[in-house]
């Protein structure tokens, strides 16, 4: 089964084509947020060099979020457009879950952190063994301090990975046992999205039609969101 996967959830953007679990090719650009200009040519080029026709793709995969608001929309809209013509099945995966696949088959506990700005991170913890990746926590939006109190409870060495990893690493005030992932494993990768999508497909998770793909922004609860309305505002209006 040929899978075409896209990740544009944060600063880097990447496209990968895989045959089941074998990666056939991957293009990766980390040159600032220019996804609206780079993504479409990257898809066209990777298919061209691999000599694969877009009609030969059996499954489209994309990271649904959390991540950059604009980035997620670019990635999902692109996949929708590609899959729409033949109504090819699609799978959306959590960005955090896909990053955990950078450590596939390594025995590690990884804490995926993406910078959500304003001292917050999108985060999830995964236990990775030789045969599978087990989710320990849901995808959440939380402060770095709250995340550390959770890491403390785990009482084991945790690898920090993702674009918020360095930020978290520098704020480790309690000197907990955390390590930074190697540079080549820090980023969101379309190849990992493809792996996560294949795992999800093999687990029997239903594929969906392109129109059903929706971004998962992972925002704050309604109560917190309303905090934004300042009392002064009512006077002004």
């Amino acid at each position: 089964m040929k899978i075409l996967a896209i990740d544009s959830s944060a600063k880097p953007v990447s496209v990968a084509v895989s045959e089941d679990q074998n990666l056939l090719g991957e293009f990766f650009i980390n040159n600032g947020l220019t996804h609206s200009q780079t993504l479409a040519p990257m898809v066209a080029d990777i298919l061209k060099v691999l000599k694969i026709n877009i009609n030969g793709i059996d499954l489209f995969a994309v990271s649904l979020g959390p991540g950059s608001f604009t980035g997620l929309r670019i990635g999902i809209a692109t996949i929708k457009g590609l899959a729409f013509a033949n109504n090819t099945p699609c799978i959306g995966v959590s960005t955090l879950n896909s990053i955990a696949y950078n450590f596939w088959r390594e025995n590690k506990t990884v804490c995926v952190v993406m910078d959500a700005k304003c001292n917050n991170v999108y985060t999830a913890i995964f236990e990775i063994s030789e045969s599978k990746i087990t989710r320990i926590t849901q995808d959440r939006l939380m402060s770095i301090e709250d995340l550390y109190s959770e890491v403390e409870k785990l009482e084991k060495e945790v690898i920090l990975v993702g674009d918020g990893a360095v930020l978290c690493y520098n704020k480790n005030k309690k000197k907990l046992k955390v390590r930074l992932a190697l540079e080549n494993k820090q980023n969101q990768r379309a190849s990992s999205v493809a792996l996560a999508a294949y795992a999800s497909y093999s687990n029997g998770d239903a594929v969906i039609c392109p129109s059903e793909l929706k971004p998962v922004y992972l925002r704050k609860s309604q109560a917190e969101r309303n905090l934004i309305v300042d009392s002064k505002k009512e006077i002004l209006l």
Partner: protein, 146 residues
């Protein structure tokens, strides 16, 4: 907190222009102040100081204007931004760290402004064209009105 008094539109622009020379390129500048207090004039001054040639106007309807100069500038008007959903859908968080962000009507998003933001409160002075600028969160001790 640094306090500067402006006595004219021209002077407000000048304060902005001089302030611009202090910027490195990724600052978040939050402007507070009532209608007609000079938020846009001050922004024009900053843009002038950054060699931005395009016309600078308040993005009340577009919410974001983008300018290219010595640094990239993202000019926000939060007047119509009423809640977190509104703010999120402007892509605000994607812009942080990618250029200078200037925000008009920061009152509307005060509670979630990043901690390192430079806050500038503009008030009416005693006479018609007088305005009082209060700078917070930036280390300045020069006279910007010169």
């Amino acid at each position: 907190m640094l306090r500067i008094i402006s006595n004219s539109c021209k002077q407000t622009e000048k304060i902005g222009k001089n302030f611009a020379h202090k910027l490195f390129g990724t600052e978040i500048i939050a402007l507070f102040g009532d209608l007609g207090v000079g938020k846009t004039t001050f922004t024009k001054g900053i843009c002038l100081g950054l060699d931005i040639k395009t016309n600078v106007c308040s993005p009340t309807f577009s919410i974001i204007n983008e300018y290219d100069g010595r640094h990239k500038v993202y000019h926000f008007d939060m007047y119509r931004v009423k809640n977190m959903d509104d703010l999120y859908s402007t892509g605000f968080f994607d812009y942080i760290g990618n250029g200078i962000i200037i925000i008009e009507w920061s009152e509307n998003i005060e509670k979630i402004l990043p901690q390192n933001s430079i806050k500038i409160f503009i008030e009416y002075g005693n006479c018609e064209n007088q305005r009082i600028f209060n700078f917070e969160g930036v280390n300045m001790n020069e006279n910007f009105s010169d």
